[in-house]
Amino acid sequence: MVSGRHAPSRWICGLLPALAVMLAVTQSAAAASLSAKDLQVLGRALAFLQPPPGAGSIAVVFAHDDAASRRDAEAIVALLGDGLRSGGSLLRPMLRDSQSLAAGDFSVLVVAQGANGEAILAASRATHALCVTGDLAAVQAGLCTMAIWSEPRVEVVISHAAAVAAGIEFVAAFRLMVREI
């Protein structure tokens, strides 16, 4: 079959871009301060918000004038792809500068490397958005509500003060199982 002889080359032609995309995603994942698995944990943790978030947006925030922070945020957005599914809701990612959070059109703030600070804290308080980071020190300092990481085992750390300030509540069983500071 003629078409059969040509089929492998078409497969290879289709495969190469796919491999390129996978490579890019892998590189992005390696560069991001939050891994794909961390974000999967985040999606599951969001289901324990009281009330759970409906469909909306996740703002992935980078520090103003910080190229490394922006690259990290872009990597996180790439990992999120079309969005983060939590329960029946889809939260679509959007890239945001830390100085342009006034719009408040998001329910979750994912903070890229180097972006934690008073601006994020103020935005979280003003919009009642959950602030999430991979930087435990930021949560310990009360600058962000939730730190997550998935390796070597899943850990979720919550700043009680930051949660109260942002008016964020969690299901009781969840609070009993995570580390609060």
Binding site: V41, R44, A45, A47, F48, Q50, P51, P52, S86, G87, G88, S150, P152, R153, V154, V156, H160, V171, A172, A173, F174, R175, L176, M177, R179, E180, I181
Partner: protein, 691 residues
């Protein structure tokens, strides 16, 4: 209504549901997505943390690795791959557990020794509801109204847990957790057939209204021929009849609002089984059991408030053979009702408290066995305090006070040196505690140090059995109201290490235990002649016993489909009793009544549509008892060490249909595992549909 009429009704009801009645959910089993404000959403929390979650150790939901006790979790996958048709068959491959199969549908399960027939040292619960028989605190596993396919996980806590569960949780606790009616949409049916003329099946269906209400209905049962009598005496052999069982259960939950959840459940069952009873006789019991339970929990600013109440009933027809091969029949009516309230509250960021109140009433109208009704009313208060001292260090302390009132109404045996007034003036107040320190030394290493004081209450029959002379021997068998509870002290050090390089976890445990005021039934006590000249065997406290042991086990799996486990358990028990333990006299002989050494191994492989599993267990010899052919004396029987090997092959025929062939004990056609009938090889072919 005839004996099986309720099962037919239940089947029709369940058929209606599965046949497309007005229930809206037909989703996949598993995480439904939205975590509701239920007390513990096991599925969602397990998915979040990537490991099983339990609330059985402290009453607070915890990751198993963080719990301050030695706990084993048997998952639904473990249950399915075991090929087992009963819960005890699953438990026999858990390190530290001892399973005595003394009939096709009869088993006694012990934790770390101290296992004998009608073992009352173990607490078994279904979603927190205690399922022991009120007369002797024994577990008739076949009567538990749960199908294997609806179990999310079985949680096995080794060692005393009286500070949470009260009396009788001294050997350990087994909590059977089923799937949630709202978040887990389980629709499955299984039929199975095999050797011993086994025929069994189960149907489980779940329906609901959105994420706010759900109900799960389950129906199942089996019939079979019991094991051949082997060396049993003529009387014991005559007393045994083939088993059957049918149970129906309904479990529902409503999410009233995001913070308030209510539940209601009910079950009925009809069971016949032959077993070795505490007299060492073999009998056949036919039981009609039922339970009803309701509760509500609310996530409030004052904590997680829970209130629940339940009632369990059992009508038990006992048929056995006495001396001179005279048939003996008796009917018991047992009732338990329980009311529980608790508040689980987190104070600040590091402290969690749980306040608990409980009222329990157990009653046994044991007909000819007790000539009346014996009951206990127990009032309890408990407090658990969990302190997260540092990110890697936590301390949990729990204390509980139980106050018991004993009551008897009936006609005591003429000449018995006890009075009704003595019973009705008896009160017992006991305290128990559990304390555990958990230190996560590194990401891979966890140490647990725990101490506990558990309390074993005398059983209702130990208090009040009234066998007149001439039933089992020329003497009478009489319980006493002045018995002391047994007190079990336990110290334990555990060490767990995760081994990521081989995707495994190593678990080790060292424990020391001492049981004061050992309790014996009249059937294991020395003969006493009362001042009135009546020869009597009394229930009594007979000294103390110590035990020491260790467990080591490894369990893991690989990404390419292999899974493995291996373990070794050691327990060495020493008795210090006031009894003459010469052969033929004593049943309180714990030093030799359970194997000292147990080795377990398992290997499994999943690939595409196939599941292959092989499990083996070797245990050392131990000493068991049955009655001698004259049926008047206990006959010690040495049970030699043995190996049992099980295997299962599962094949997924379609997306929804799985066939499995399981061979229990395929290495031997018959094995003497107790002094009872030899356990026979069992081959079971099953077909499971999962929608």
């Amino acid at each position: 209504m005839t004996r099986h009429a309720f099962i037919r009704c239940a089947l029709a009801l369940l058929g209606g549901v599965l046949g497309g009645g007005g229930f809206g959910h037909h989703g996949m089993l598993g995480y439904a997505g939205v975590a509701l404000a239920q007390p513990v959403d096991y599925g969602a929390l397990e998915q979040l943390f990537g490991e099983p979650v339990t609330a059985s150790v402290t009453g607070k939901p915890q990751r198993v690795a963080d719990a301050p006790a030695d706990i084993e979790i048997i998952t639904q996958d473990d249950i399915r791959r075991s090929g087992a048709t009963s819960i005890p068959e699953v438990l026999q491959f858990v390190p530290g557990l001892d399973v005595r199969l003394d009939g096709f549908a009869s088993a006694d399960v012990g934790i770390r020794g101290y296992n004998q027939t009608s073992n009352p040292h173990l607490m078994v619960l279904v979603n927190g509801r205690q399922v022991y028989m009120a007369d002797y605190g024994r577990i008739l596993w076949a009567t538990i109204p749960v199908q294997l396919s609806e179990i999310r996980q079985i949680e096995v806590i080794k060692g005393p847990s009286s500070a949470l569960y009260g009396f009788n949780a001294v050997g350990g606790v087994i909590n059977i957790i089923t799937y949630d009616p709202i978040t887990d949409h389980l629709n499955t049916a299984t039929v199975a057939a095999g050797t011993q003329h086994y025929l069994g099946g189960s149907v489980v269906g779940t329906g609901g209204i959105g994420d706010t209400a759900g109900v799960r209905l389950s129906l199942g049962g089996f019939q079979a021929h019991d094991f051949a009598p082997g060396q049993l005496s003529q009387g014991d052999a005559l007393a045994r009849q083939s088993p059957f069982n049918g149970t129906f259960a309904a479990d529902s939950r409503w999410q009233i609002n995001p913070s308030v959840s209510a539940f209601a459940e009910a079950s009925v069952g009809d069971t016949r089984l032959s077993e070795q009873e505490l007299t060492a006789l073999f009998d056949t019991e036919t039981l009609v059991t039922s339970s009803i339970r309701a509760g509500i929990s609310a996530d409030t600013p004052f904590g997680l408030l829970s209130l629940s109440a339940y009632r369990s009933d059992a009508s038990v027809d006992v048929n056995n053979i006495g001396i001179n091969l005279v048939p003996i029949t008796d009917t018991e009516y047992q009732t338990s009702y329980v009311v529980q309230a608790s508040d689980l509250v987190k104070l600040g960021t590091d402290h969690t408290l749980r306040f608990g109140l409980e009222y329990r009433n157990d009653a046994d109208n044991s007909g000819d066995y007790g000539n009346g009704v014996i009951s206990t009313a127990i009032y309890s208060a408990s407090l658990m305090w969990d302190w997260q001292i540092a990110p890697s260090l936590s301390l949990t302390n729990a204390v509980r006070l139980d106050h018991l009132l004993l009551h008897y109404s009936g006609n005591l045996l003429p000449g018995a040196p006890v009075t009704v007034a003595q019973y009705n003036n008896t009160t017992v107040t006991e305290w128990s505690y559990n304390s555990g320190l958990v230190w996560r030394a590194t990401d891979d290493d966890t140490f647990r140090l725990s101490v506990a004081r558990g309390v074993q209450l005398p059983t209702l029959l130990q208090y009040a059995v009234q066998f007149r002379p001439g039933i089992f021997s020329p003497a009478a068998y009489i319980g006493r109201p002045d018995l002391n509870p047994s007190v079990v002290w336990n110290e334990e050090l555990d060490y767990d290490r995760s081994l990521p390089a081989i995707a495994s976890t190593l678990r080790t445990a060292l424990f020391l235990q001492r049981t004061d005021d050992l309790l014996t039934t009249p059937f294991g006590a020395p003969l006493t002649i009362t001042p009135s000249g009546l020869p009597v065997f009394f229930s009594q406290n007979v000294g103390y016993s110590t035990a020491a042991g260790a467990e080591i086990g490894i369990k893991g799996h690989s990404a390419n489909g292999f899974r493995w486990n291996a373990s070794y358990a050691l327990v060495s028990t020493t008795d210090h009793t006031t009894l003459d333990t010469s052969p033929g006299l004593g049943t309180v002989e714990y030093a030799h009544s359970a194997p000292n050494h147990v080795v377990i191994g398992g290997l499994g492989y999943s690939q595409d549509r196939w599941e292959l599993d092989l499990m083996a267990r070797w245990q050392s010899s131990y000493l068991d008892y049955r009655l001698d052919p004259t049926r008047t004396m206990l006959l010690p029987v040495q049970v030699d060490n043995y190996v049992t090997v099980n295997a299962r092959i599962g094949y997924r025929l379609t997306e929804n249909l799985t066939a499995a062939l399981a061979a229990q004990q395929f290495n031997a056609p018959a094995l003497a595992e107790t002094a009872g009938p030899p356990v026979q090889r069992q081959i079971i072919l099953s077909l499971t549909a999962r929608l």
